[in-house]
């Protein structure tokens, strides 16, 4: 039985269930690197090129952990995950970045995921991977179908507000008494890696703040909102963020928006700027950007986060105080503010 390592970073949060089912169906054993920790981050920063972004460095750390423990490491080349869109050049060059930075004995499986033109390329890649594992075409086809099914269920569960940690890692969902709701705009590998984001989600829950993430918003809604922009956005990663932010700005019960980004992220430098510029014009609730890098001090991060939560809460209290008088007597909510 072949042991295949999957690094717990980047699009692990999007595609792990798919990959796991596909590989185990074909008789491979999947080995996952542990949750991100200090050691993984340090090793990653040591081996990865200095000016890369934090998530890519962390990814290097996960690969380092797996190397030599498994027969192969799965590092797909994500060129494109939806038609006519790319992701980020670093996703396209990920196998190279790792290969030339970390000396390793386990070979890399670097099949290309490229849906830019059509689905054909994806099938081709999956078949070549299946072949390598010694499966026949019928088995491979079956595994693909099953993997897709799992993937759709996973996506649906995310859409319904479940977190990857609950779905993949069987962690217990936190039940909280919700006082207010905020939106978080970020890439999944920042948002769901509690080490990288210094337990952001837990901290929000601790203050009874519920959150909506891009994964909880229907992709059709995101598409529609982005279509209203002047130029089509040709990165899926950026489109998700911009579309989610536009959605969150339009939903009344969302009391504020957090933009969570990594220092040196090329994609975010443009998309978050666009979001902030739009927000400056049409949005009058709290919006704050939190930047992460390997030197971010937790104290500093907490101060900013707390300031944001205070703002959100204060607004909430204000609304609660005023609304009994406001509704019905004065016609619109806007008048009260």
């Amino acid at each position: 039985m072949k042991r295949i390592g999957i690094p717990r970073g980047l699009y692990y949060y999007k595609y792990y269930p798919f990959a796991k089912i596909f590989l185990t169906e074909l008789g491979a054993e999947v080995v996952l690197s542990p949750e991100t920790n200090k050691e993984i981050l340090d090793i990653g920063s040591k081996y990865c090129i200095d000016d890369a972004c934090l998530p890519v460095k962390v990814y290097h750390g996960h690969v380092y952990f797996l190397k030599d423990k498994v027969d192969y490491v799965l590092i797909p080349r994500f060129t494109s995950i939806s038609a006519k869109e790319y992701i980020c050049p670093k996703f396209g060059g990920l196998p190279e970045m790792v290969r030339y930075s970390i000396p390793m004995n386990s070979p890399i499986i670097d099949i290309e995921i490229n849906l830019y033109k059509n689905k054909f390329n994806l099938y081709k890649s999956l078949f070549s991977l299946g072949n390598m594992l010694g499966a026949n075409p019928i088995q491979i086809k079956k595994a693909i179908n099953k993997a897709f099914k799992t993937h759709y269920v996973y996506k649906k569960d995310l859409l319904n507000g479940n977190l990857p940690a609950v779905l993949i890692e069987n962690k217990k969902p936190v039940k909280i008494k919700t006082k207010s709701i905020v939106g978080i705009v970020s890439h999944p590998y920042l948002l769901y890696d509690s080490f990288i984001n210094m337990n952001l989600l837990k901290k929000l829950s601790g203050r009874c703040i519920k959150y909506i993430t891009p994964e909880m918003i229907d992709s059709q809604i995101i598409d529609n909102l982005c279509n209203e922009l002047e130029k089509r956005i040709f990165w899926s990663s950026s489109k998700e963020l911009i579309g989610s932010a536009l959605y969150m700005m339009n939903i009344n019960r969302i009391e504020g928006i957090l933009l969570l980004t990594s220092f040196a992220c090329g994609i975010d430098s443009l998309s978050l700027e666009l979001i902030i510029r739009i927000a400056n014009k049409i949005y009058n609730k709290p919006i704050m950007m939190l930047t992460l890098d390997e030197h971010t001090g937790e104290a500093n991060f907490n101060t900013r986060l707390e300031a944001f939560m205070d703002l959100v809460e204060r607004r909430q209290n204000l609304d609660n105080n005023l609304s009994p008088y406001g509704r019905g007597i004065y016609c619109s909510e806007r008048n009260i503010r």
Binding site: R77, T79, E85, G93, E230, F234, L270, L274
Partner: protein, 365 residues
């Protein structure tokens, strides 16, 4: 409609030629200076790549000089450049400038839009516009020749300031020239002036190839005049990408049914088999090509946070070993200090010289 466009090395010469030929009024942005960068970066997102900040500064200066329409080429991914236009437009509008952007996306994205834009720009004289573009391409060919003369002469002459004088005057003369024909004459005349400078034919200068992100290797302001600096240190340089090279591979070849960047793709294939955005394949391809041509060293230049060149750089570390060629990595952004930059270049050139000398010694014995 008063048109302007961003600076990128000598591109203004060719673009000016197009608009001259078409009889369209255009403003050339004042040459890029510290002030341009300051203006641009004040309004830019902090982590955006350097070309964004500089070109934004160019626009602000042009608008203040009276321009109201900005023309740029676009692209649809995968790099940030493709989204420069829309965001810069937003920023300029937020600053209170009323400008129009004409973003010419490559014909393959939307052929009708492409033709429409060309038509809009040329007042309906589409075929004349296409002819002008071709004439401008010829200007680019001449510019490359001129640069190559400069690369040849600079390390071989004692009197570097003569070259600077000639090139300084060239900038003035070329702005006075009208239309591609006159421009080409000025370029040729300048080339002859450079060739008349006395040189020492026996010097065997170091050969250094310049690779990296296209804007920062072409625009001298952004790379702190790296070509001139290296030339003055006695190295004969070659720049892997030029405006001509870009036009040839992105316009001329596709228009005549050929594929661009054949050599680069072939050579880079073992290291990076697909297009990931930016010019990674070109960077790697040229690095290998220079190594095969026995260059003594390479300099990779890219803006801080440049995604594709960060990937290139990791691969280059392997090329260094596989082809036994030293590479200097220069990351540019607005904080680059001139003194440190010069020191690094000097140290690199010294190292290459010593290395070459040792090689020769070991060959002798």
């Amino acid at each position: 409609m008063i048109i302007t466009y961003p600076h990128m090395g000598e591109a203004y010469i060719a673009v000016k030629g197009i608009f001259d030929n078409l009889g369209i009024k255009s403003i050339i942005a004042p040459f890029t200076t510290e002030d341009t960068l300051r203006l641009g970066s004040r309004e830019s997102p902090e982590c955006v790549c350097l070309p964004f900040k500089i070109t934004l500064g160019n626009y602000i200066k042009s608008i203040e000089a009276g321009a109201d329409t900005i023309v740029i080429t676009g692209s649809c991914g995968p790099c940030r450049f493709g989204y420069y236009g829309p965001l810069q437009k937003q920023i300029l509008q937020d600053m209170g400038y009323d400008v129009d952007f004409i973003i010419i996306d490559p014909p393959k994205e939307n052929p009708l839009d492409f033709l429409h834009n060309i038509k809009k720009l040329s007042n309906g004289k589409t075929s004349k516009a296409i002819k002008s573009i071709y004439d401008a391409y010829k200007v680019c060919i001449e510019i490359d020749k001129l640069n190559e003369i400069q690369y040849y002469v600079r390390p071989r002459t004692k009197n570097k300031s003569i070259i600077n004088n000639i090139m300084y005057n060239f900038k003035r003369e070329v702005l006075d020239a009208h239309g591609t024909k006159e421009i080409i004459e000025v370029i040729k005349a300048t080339g002859n002036k450079l060739l008349s400078i006395p040189i020492d034919k026996n010097t065997k200068p170091l050969k250094i190839g310049i690779i990296g992100e296209i804007y920062t290797i072409i625009e001298p302001f952004s790379n702190l005049n790296v070509e001139e600096r290296l030339g003055n240190m006695g190295a004969e340089i070659h720049r892997s990408m030029t405006i001509k090279h870009w036009a040839e591979n992105n316009l001329i070849m596709p228009a005549t049914g050929r594929k661009g960047y054949k050599m680069e793709k072939r050579l880079s294939n073992p290291y990076i088999p697909v297009l990931i955005g930016g010019h990674t394949q070109q960077c790697i391809g040229h690095a290998i090509n220079y190594a095969n041509l026995n260059y003594d060293g390479l300099v990779q230049i890219y803006p801080m946070t440049c995604m594709p060149e960060i990937v290139s750089r990791t691969i280059l570390s392997q090329i260094e070993k596989d082809y036994n060629i030293p590479i200097l990595y220069l990351i540019v952004d607005e904080q680059v200090g001139e003194a440190g930059y010069q020191t690094r270049l000097e140290a690199f050139v010294d190292y290459l010289r010593e290395r070459k000398y040792n090689h020769k010694l070991s060959e002798k014995f």
